[in-house]
Assembly symmetry: C2
Homo-oligomer: 204 residues x 2
DNA sequence: TTACGATGTATGCACCGTTCACATTAGGGG
DNA sequence: CCCCTAATGTGAACGGTGCATACATCGTAA
């Protein structure tokens, strides 16, 4: 632990992850270069290669961290959401996470989930199961798999549309209200459509 | 127009866009470099700068093209979708577009919509209005703004989750069925939740 | 015809990811 | 205790990139 000489860093891997996070927050995805990470960690340009196979591996590790944090914040938002209000609150947390850490969020979803990056696959599975758990409890009689996909997609899409400037993001309050409105809209308008469409039940 | 000498290209801007599209399809976003575009257009590395301020401008132009194509395909999918079946069909086209042109789709939504890139803003506005038009017609009594946001977010989220490998994309049929199931799930499960939540109407 | 503005070229700089040979050091087996 | 090996960090180098700058070429309009 004590670095009598400065040659060996001690925990370079952790230092790289921290540096990468900082760069991501400060300069966006563009600023995250392996060399910049090394510089910030006070180490030579090629040192990180002892801990990460390549740049992608570093990004994947950072993304996995992001997944864990997102999962934490979602769980903290509401223990067992069941009403539209609850769901909207969770959705707000999801979108807020994306807007608070835009570059990290992009890193989390920018590239196809490499099947070789087990850390990353496992981390996303946690979120997927969290959503499924909510849906199973809140909608006992429904197709939990399909509906949880739909719910995740709705919230994920809201996050990305906001992130990409397709929706108004002028103030946090505006965003919150938009997310709430979108979630509510689903639960109020869906029956309206069924009436318009004149369909009692939907075919399998 | 005939290039007696090869010095002047004729229509380098269009050639660059075409080359960029090809590179995007062949090598993904990573392969799209200004130099590669110039090479493919058979021109010096810095020639494209006469037609695009920088790399971002090129990407924005390609993205704008993508928006136009997507809008076309959506419009062609169904003239006036109103039933869940119709909406699901449109959603399938949206998701299929993303999966057929993954790198292009990412380019379209990867970076914040630069307010200076009017071409890009205008192109996304077309899609936004298309969705709003559908919602206005299909859900006469609802908050068209909020609901169209929700619908776009649902479909957009489905596209991205598939693109990022968070959902099964093994065969096109599987994808189609997942999208249809997710869309249907909304219209069948939403009332179920309202029952569970015990709410007649949602507060403003 | 000639001058000019638009278009394409050549060169150079700083940065990037990555590889490879090498230096340093921690920690365990004699 | 010492030395040897494996892990870790260094340095130089290669090819690629975006971009700025100075220069060459050419269509066109006065």
């Amino acid at each position: 632990m004590p670095q009598s000489t400065a040659y060996h860093h001690g925990d370079l891997r952790a230092a790289c992850l921290r540096a990468a996070r900082e760069l991501l927050e400060e300069d966006g995805s563009a600023g995250l270069s392996l060399r910049a990470v090394a510089r910030r960690a006070g180490v030579s340009a090629t040192a990180p290669y002892r801990h990460f196979a390549d740049r992608d591996a570093l990004v994947s590790a950072v993304a996995a961290e992001g997944y864990r944090e997102l999962a934490e914040q979602l769980a903290a938002a509401h223990p067992a959401p069941s009403t539209p209000d609850d769901l909207a609150a969770v959705a707000v947390v999801y979108v807020r996470f994306a807007l608070d850490h835009p570059a990290l969020f992009r890193a989390m979803f920018a590239e196809p989930c490499d099947p070789t990056s087990e850390e990353r696959v496992a981390a996303t599975a946690v979120i997927s199961e969290y959503v499924q758990g909510i849906v199973r409890d809140a909608f006992p009689g429904s197709d939990a798999s399909a509906l949880s996909t739909a719910v995740w997609a709705l919230v994920h899409g809201l996050a990305f549309l906001h992130l990409d400037g397709k929706l108004d993001t002028s103030t946090p309050e505006v965003v919150v209200e938009q997310v709430r409105a979108a979630v509510y809209a689903f639960f109020t308008a869906a029956p309206a459509m069924r009436a318009v469409a004149g369909r009692g039940e939907v075919s399998a």
